[in-house]
């Protein structure tokens, strides 16, 4: 009924000959392949889509409003995925929206990463007062309702792509911090760090040479997770009307703008929703797969 893994003495060496290299294992993982494929496809679409489908995503055609996709009897090939309530081409907007989502996802997650990793490694490595201070900051950050603050900040600073990226980035560094900090705390106590110290390495050298490379895997996993979270956060904020300003075609905004007419034109919320859903699921799958390979012990 239940499986028990035998705890072999922790020191039993993994058989050297039978270890595959990390990249091989990563690429053999099914989740990584599917998720990575999806993400890659989206990146391609975002990069090249607007070059191929050159219809202006902002051009309105009041005579062509709310056309259904081409496969519907009322649809036209001129707008393969139909038009929105202002007669803008949905396909062009979806393609542009992929750029928006990916840009926000990657940029925000990177901003968060820089903040979180820096704070986390400093707190984890130096401990004591520094750690207390950072952890207090973290508690405060966690205690503050981040969505509420994000809404307020974006709304009052001036909704724009940059604001949204920065604010979302500022809101999502906790996971990096926690992961980096605890791993740093753990690694700091490991003998090879002591060896480096003994060899005369400075704190910065130890963090950069000895600690962070070992976190790369975990941080990559966090990064993918945060990309997904940031993409969703942007969509939610835009949906609430306190995110990316119109007429920028963010998927969340498209859903928000389309929801009033969704009863008879469900594609208008379905299409951006599905795009968003597939992208996030792709990123999540990629992250899960990476985690399975990189940290099999914490496998979910």
């Amino acid at each position: 009924m239940t499986e028990i893994a035998l705890t072999t003495t922790a020191n039993a060496p993994a058989d050297p000959e039978n270890r595959e290299s990390l990249p091989t294992r990563i690429f053999r993982n099914r989740s990584v392949r599917i998720g990575g494929g999806v993400v890659l496809a989206y990146i391609m679409v975002a990069l090249f889509g607007p070059l191929i489908w050159t219809t202006d995503p902002y051009a309105q055609d009041l005579m062509m409003r709310l056309r259904p996709p081409a496969w519907d009897a009322r649809g036209t090939l001129q707008h393969p995925l139909g038009t929105d309530q202002l007669g803008r081409d949905v396909l062009a907007r979806l393609l542009e929206g992929a750029r928006v989502s990916l840009t926000i996802g990657f940029c925000a997650a990177s901003i968060g990463a820089v903040i979180g990793i820096t704070l986390g490694s400093i707190a984890g490595y130096f401990g004591r007062l520094v750690d207390h201070a950072v952890m207090f900051g973290l508690t405060c950050k966690l205690a503050l309702p981040s969505l509420l603050l994000a809404m307020t900040l974006i709304y009052f600073i001036q909704p724009s792509l940059t604001t949204v990226v920065c604010v979302i980035g500022l809101m999502h560094w906790t996971l990096y911090l926690v992961v980096t900090r605890s791993a740093t705390q753990r690694i700091r106590e490991l003998d090879y760090v002591k060896a480096s110290k003994l060899a005369g390495a400075s704190a910065r050298q130890i963090i950069v040479w000895d600690i962070l490379p070992n976190l790369a895997g975990s941080l990559l996993v966090v990064f993918t997770a945060e990309v997904a979270v940031s993409i969703l956060a942007e969509a939610s904020l835009s949906f609430l009307g306190v995110g990316v300003p119109s007429p920028i075609p963010s998927w969340g905004l498209m859903i928000s703008e389309g929801k009033a007419v969704m009863f008879l034109n469900p594609w208008i919320v379905l299409l951006p929703g599905v795009s968003l859903f597939l992208l996030v699921i792709g990123v999540n799958l990629l992250g899960d797969g990476l985690r399975d390979v990189i940290q099999p012990q914490t496998r979910d």
Binding site: M1, T2, E3, I4, A5, T7, F136, T139, C140, L142, A143, L144, P145, L147, L148, L149, M151, T152, L153, Y155, F156, I157, A228, L232, A235, S236, F239, L240, G241, V242, G252, I255, S256, K259, M262, F263, P266, V269, L270, G273, L276, F277, L278, V280, I281, N284, L285, D288, T298, R299, D300
Partner: protein, 305 residues
């Protein structure tokens, strides 16, 4: 124990204070709420009047001191927009959010726990794979989008449930599912990994060697250990739900704290925003405290150490 509690209370106060200063700074330096409050009319005299009525023409630091002074005296300020004591407004909106959060929690548990347990018992099996995929899908589907689809299908198309509002228990069903679904993957994965870890723990092998197997092994030896990490996450998750119900409340037009928050942002109602942030912050600290206590109560290692 007393020390622990005092420490936590001090921490809570410090956190709440910092949180309030941060919000106060963000809100008062970035925003002039007077114009937002006046609304459609844009008479500068009226705006100026509102400004001086609300004391917004005084320096922000002075206002902060007054505000904190008021807090200490139990006076939490009056909403700029609704002209009502902020605490009254919050108390008025809180029940909806609390009900929503609790029912969301229930949904999370009802889906997350069984899935997690099933997945852990048969790692790698179809149940496990399905559960993981379900979790991934649930996580990826944006709340507002699913909410709209739910409304479209269950309320408008099938007419089974009310579209919006919070006046009947039926109107909580869809929002609870939407709000609850967010934490399902987390709970499921935690349960799964917790249980898997426990099942591979030495003491489970001991129990098996003693002659336990099957359900009794699970019940008597594995579940309690496996639930520990889940419990501590649940309290935090409840806190998150209380603070994170904006989207759900907006989609389903429920009059809870989340929508109050959005409205306060849109109308520049600073006293309400400040109070909301403070309430959420205190709630968070309370929840972490609760989670610590729960954990200590469930885990003798912490309780008696």
């Amino acid at each position: 124990m007393l020390r622990f509690v005092t420490q936590k209370i001090l921490l809570a106060i410090a956190v709440a204070l910092t949180a309030s200063i941060v919000t106060f700074a963000l809100l008062n330096f970035a925003v002039d709420p007077a114009a937002a409050i006046v609304g459609d009319t844009d008479d500068p005299a009226l705006i100026a009047q509102v400004r001086s009525d609300l004391g917004l023409d005084r320096p922000a630091s002075e206002r902060y001191v007054t505000w904190v002074g008021g807090l200490l005296k139990g006076d939490l300020g009056v909403s700029y927009v609704m002209k009502q004591p902020v605490m009254e407004i919050i108390l008025e909106h809180a029940p909806v959010t609390i009900r929503l959060a609790l029912s969301g929690m229930l949904v999370t548990l009802l889906i997350g726990l069984p899935l997690g347990i099933a997945a852990a018992l048969r790692p790698g099996s179809w149940i496990d794979r399905t559960a993981l995929s379900v979790a991934a899908a649930i996580q990826a589907a944006p709340n507002f989008w699913v909410g709209l689809l739910f409304i479209l299908f269950f309320a408008v198309h099938l007419g089974l449930l009310p579209v919006s509002g919070d006046d009947s228990w039926q109107s909580y069903i869809m929002p609870a599912v939407i709000l609850g679904k967010g934490a399902v993957p987390n709970v499921m994965r935690l349960t799964r990994s917790g249980l898997m870890e426990v099942l591979s723990a030495d003491f489970i092998r001991t129990a098996r060697a003693k002659g336990f197997f099957g359900w009794s092994l699970l019940r008597r030896h594995a579940l309690r250990n496996a639930i520990l990490p889940v419990v501590s996450v649940l309290a935090i998750e409840l806190g998150n739900k209380l603070g994170g119900s904006v989207v759900t409340e907006v989609v389903f037009a429920m009059n809870g704290l989340g929508r109050l928050a959005l409205n306060s942002v849109l109308t520049g109602d600073i006293p309400t925003l400040q109070m909301l942030v403070l309430v959420f912050a205190v709630m968070f600290v309370l929840m972490t405290f609760l989670s610590d206590v729960l954990n200590a109560w469930l885990d003798p290692r912490i309780r008696l150490a």
